[in-house]
Symmetry: C2
Subunit: 591 residues, 2 copies
């Protein structure tokens, strides 16, 4: 039910509907929309600070421009909530029953005011340049504006710079709004921010101006949360006939004190109590991340030249705790995933022991650095990767391509521990050895204890946890518990005493165990929490290809899934113990 039937926003179905409003009405709208962002984020989680900061910018845009003829491209698009409210999707903020009708990012499937699915940073300028080029080719007389909105944090990503460089070549309309809130996901990192500060402090007048250096026109708005100022600024540059940067100073978290004080906490939040600001479902158990950090403490105490590196996401790994203890060994390069890997490679080659923390979906941005820098130079970088799993998340952040991305490359060992003791054993070995890059896939499921059955992983020895016959289950990493359940179900349903194997690695195979299995098994089953294409299972398929062994692979198909509940995904992908056993049964019966 609509919780705010009295809101002015109820009268807005299209951006057109705000064009006749007075400044006071627009300001009222801004306040309403701030309240709605807070209510929805508190209830289901979401981006807080980025949205609170751009209410005026968004209102001014839709007041001045004519969407969707004029086209706006939101960088990362996590700040698009106000845009969604003004473009036909207000109910998803007014009515809790409809909160989940929409995604947290722009989505062409939802509205013709959205042009791309976007969730990674730094792409907006290149996308806008492409839109402008297509406009000029297909409809040379068009007066449509193309507008990119990019945060100062996203500017440090190399792609944004590539986009600026090529934007300067355009000879037609393009507006790049630099939304400068003096924050990345975390604190901004790097020299760029010194220059931006000087521009803010001189009201945009400093002669040293990176945008002008690149041949771009430039204007500055001192208070981007001043609705009048934003409307005036947009009116002035609407229909401009060349590329221009509009540098806008805004306040991240504007209108909600806790979000202003704790900008990093409120960048993105799980459900929280609006009054106390506390997490609704605080995590209190043991975590793999904490176990990893404790091990790094021990390694450093023992004299290992360990350093921890990340690219703007310390929160995902609790790295602020590491930084507090070891500030001289902590590197956050900001949103600069490529730089993170390349500099880690150099540190490893020069004798330090870098441990890189990265999310699978963001590691995609450094694929060439994995290939050309890390693998080619066989640099002993240690990396912890999270989120390379089948998960309920936005398709923009689907991380399940990681096995193909990492394990198909030469020289890299990609390990998948099944419990915390195994993970720490792998980490210790990874830090000790200097022969090759080692990537460890941090499990996403709740922490379990178990044992490590190997100390030196330079030759992977599959662990046969249970010796059975007929069917062998190879359950990798996070799917270890699933493997156990499949074994139980096989026993119960068709009385097969299956062998259960922990392969430990997504790259290496253990030919001895694989060969040995042929003696008293007819079927090998692989279970992997990731995409099947290019994955672990196919490595086993290839090994057994020329032999009589039957192999069945379970994992995710080659597709994107957008915010699908995990249990639904598992059903879709035939990943419940019952479904898996049904499939195995068919093969066993065909023998």
């Amino acid at each position: 039910m609509n919780r705010h039937p009295d809101y002015l926003l109820n009268e807005v179905d299209e951006p057109e509907d705000i064009k006749g409003m007075t400044l006071d009405e627009l300001k009222r709208l801004a306040n309403e929309m701030r309240q709605l962002v807070l209510e929805r984020d508190a209830a289901i989680g979401g981006h807080v600070g980025p949205n609170l900061g751009v209410m005026e910018l968004t209102l001014a845009y839709h007041y001045v421009f004519n969407s969707p003829h004029d086209k706006i491209i939101w960088d990362v698009s996590h700040q698009c909530y106000a845009h969604k409210m003004l473009t036909g999707r207000k109910l998803a903020f007014l009515d809790p029953d409809h909160y989940k009708d929409i995604s947290g990012f722009t989505s062409p499937a939802e509205s013709n005011h959205d042009f791309f699915e976007i969730g990674h940073t730094s792409t907006s300028i290149s996308l806008a340049v492409g839109m402008a080029q297509a406009r000029d080719l297909l409809n040379p007389d068009s007066k449509d504006n193309v507008v990119a909105v990019i945060g100062d944090g996203s500017l440090s990503g190399g792609l944004a710079f590539e986009g600026l460089n090529n934007a300067a070549k355009l000879k037609s309309n393009l507006i790049i709004v630099v939304n400068d809130n003096q924050m990345s996901i975390d604190e901004n990192q790097g020299g760029l921010y010194q220059g931006l500060k000087e521009l803010r402090e001189t009201d945009g007048a400093s002669p040293n101006n990176i945008f002008k250096f690149m041949g771009l026109d430039y204007r500055y708005v001192k208070d981007g949360n001043d609705l009048r100022a934003m409307i005036d600024a947009f009116k002035e540059i609407k229909d401009i006939d060349h590329p221009i940067v509009l540098h806008v100073n805004t306040l991240k978290g504007k209108g909600y004190e806790p979000a202003i004080k704790e900008k990093m906490t409120y960048h993105w939040r799980m459900p929280f109590d609006l009054k106390t600001g506390k997490d609704k479902h605080p995590f209190t158990g043991e975590s793999y991340s904490d176990a990893i950090l404790a091990e790094l403490d021990r390694q450093i105490a023992a004299g290992e030249p360990v350093v921890a590196m990340n690219a703007a996401i310390p929160g995902a790994f609790n790295l602020k705790r590491f930084q507090a203890k070891h500030s001289d060994r902590y590197y956050d390069v900001g949103i600069a995933e490529q730089d993170c890997i390349s500099s880690a490679v150099a540190m490893a080659v020069a004798g330090a022991r870098p441990v890189v923390f990265q999310n699978a979906t963001l590691l995609q941005r450094a694929y060439d650095q994995l290939v050309h820098d890390m693998a080619l130079n066989d640099a002993p970088v240690v990396m912890i990767v999270r989120g390379g799993t089948i998960a309920t998340e936005s398709a923009t952040h689907q991380g399940s391509f990681d096995i193909s991305m990492i394990s198909d490359l030469p020289n890299i060992e990609y390990l998948a521990p099944t419990n915390v003791e195994e993970l720490l054993s792998m980490l210790k070995w990874a830090i000790k050895q200097t022969d090759q890059p080692v990537v460890i896939r941090e499990p996403e499921k709740p922490l379990i204890h178990g044992e490590a059955t190997q100390e030196d992983y330079s030759n992977i020895k599959y662990n046969i946890a249970h010796h059975g016959s007929e069917v062998a289950i190879m359950a990798v990493g996070d799917f270890w518990e699933l493997g156990k359940k499949v074994c139980e179900e096989l026993k119960r349903k068709i009385n097969i005493d299956a062998t259960l194997i922990n392969p430990k690695s997504l790259t290496g195979i253990d030919p001895q165990v694989l060969h040995h299995l042929s003696e008293n098994h007819d079927v090998v089953v692989t279970l992997e929490d990731g995409n099947l294409s290019g994955g672990f299972g196919e490595t086993i398929d290839r090994y057994y290809g020329p032999t009589p062994m039957k192999v069945l692979n379970f994992g995710a198909p080659r597709e994107f899934a957008d915010n699908v509940p995990l249990e639904v995904l598992y059903e879709w992908y035939h990943l419940t113990p019952k479904q898996i056993v049904d499939d195995i049964e068919k093969v066993v019966h065909s023998l």
Copy 2:
């Protein structure tokens, strides 16, 4: 035999040996080394212009600094020939019998004066920052300098910008030499070069300075080919206690008129005649690239909104010819591979028909744009990819990871034509359809004619070129001719009349044909000109995993190969018809 026993260079075994030389002797050395670059490049091919331009810079570096205690990192490292001559590898330039003793890039395996295998651009600053950070952690009292040398062309790559941004945070020695020769591989592209031009024109005095904007110290050298000036500049900044940019103006091709006049032609050359400047083995036959461009001409004439896009490598696809005819439809974004894909995605979404030309090894630099921009948005970009093959090349440029990189992603169709007619049929369909991204793998082997057996590739229909029994050979793309030879050899040696199949696609499978094969075949063999891990063969392995069909995959293992002759690689990888048939025979006999 040493062709120049009279050269002063013969006296140089280590950089130490030039430290006592007079300026005149050093100048003589520069001239000798220029001559040696030309002789070697003319004989076996290599990078010409980049090396001719940095003789003085390299001599000055080794005269002033103490390699390998001081560490120099060459961006791309294609300009490292003089460095190699001065660091123990002069014979590989003096003596034609030893020309091939060394690679064309820095190589730690060759010398302790080299620190990384490098062949892609824009990595040097990040690598240098990592080296400096490791120095400061491991040996806080060290006075060793870390020096990166990066060309102005490489600066447009986003990673270079990420590197500059993080370099500014360093509180210790780091020297970034910007070797500004006013060229990329081709012409520089983008606004950055307007700013650099202003810096050159003001002798570095312009207040608008991107390096200073980012908080970096800065000096300018007007003539980087003036040995005295370079020595003085290096002496001044040696042992500096903070990061500094040394902006050096050099002449690409210096000392050889043809290379100065035709900078792009002489960036990298196949063997050529030193007197006439002409190719020794000019290519005169039909080429796939020309056939593609002719088709684009027809599409444009027919009114299709086709545009051609590339990132600094028009030469690899003859795109200057396209540009000459269709300048308004031609986009070279410079060295900015990520931007190229993102802006192509936007052009496709906005209704244009972008055809992107890219090399497999450089496409690695835009992997996230393939995933997050192109695949996720299902944008109907058309892409032509070259070099995704097993090849005799530097390991830095190994392109054979392309099948895993592209075909394991959702929504993308990766097609592998076997002849020029099939390629054009695929291209026509790719441009006509608007449902999905389509990538076409341009064959690398000499052009062959044949036929297209399909017009609409939205559902891949494997072509059964010959109906046999027992064994089915699936030969993809460039390995089609190999497939034919394997069939002949199978007939000859073990009298098997094998079925021969052209699968056309590296992504999609044709379940009907695969199912049908089970009726009268026991063995399926896949032949792919690329890496097996995550490749086409494994897709077939997975399909047949639960069935009695035996599958054998042929392709490259998960490894790098550096400048290995193709016939040797084929032997290593069991890819000769005889080896393949021997392997098949073993499986057939085991049945």
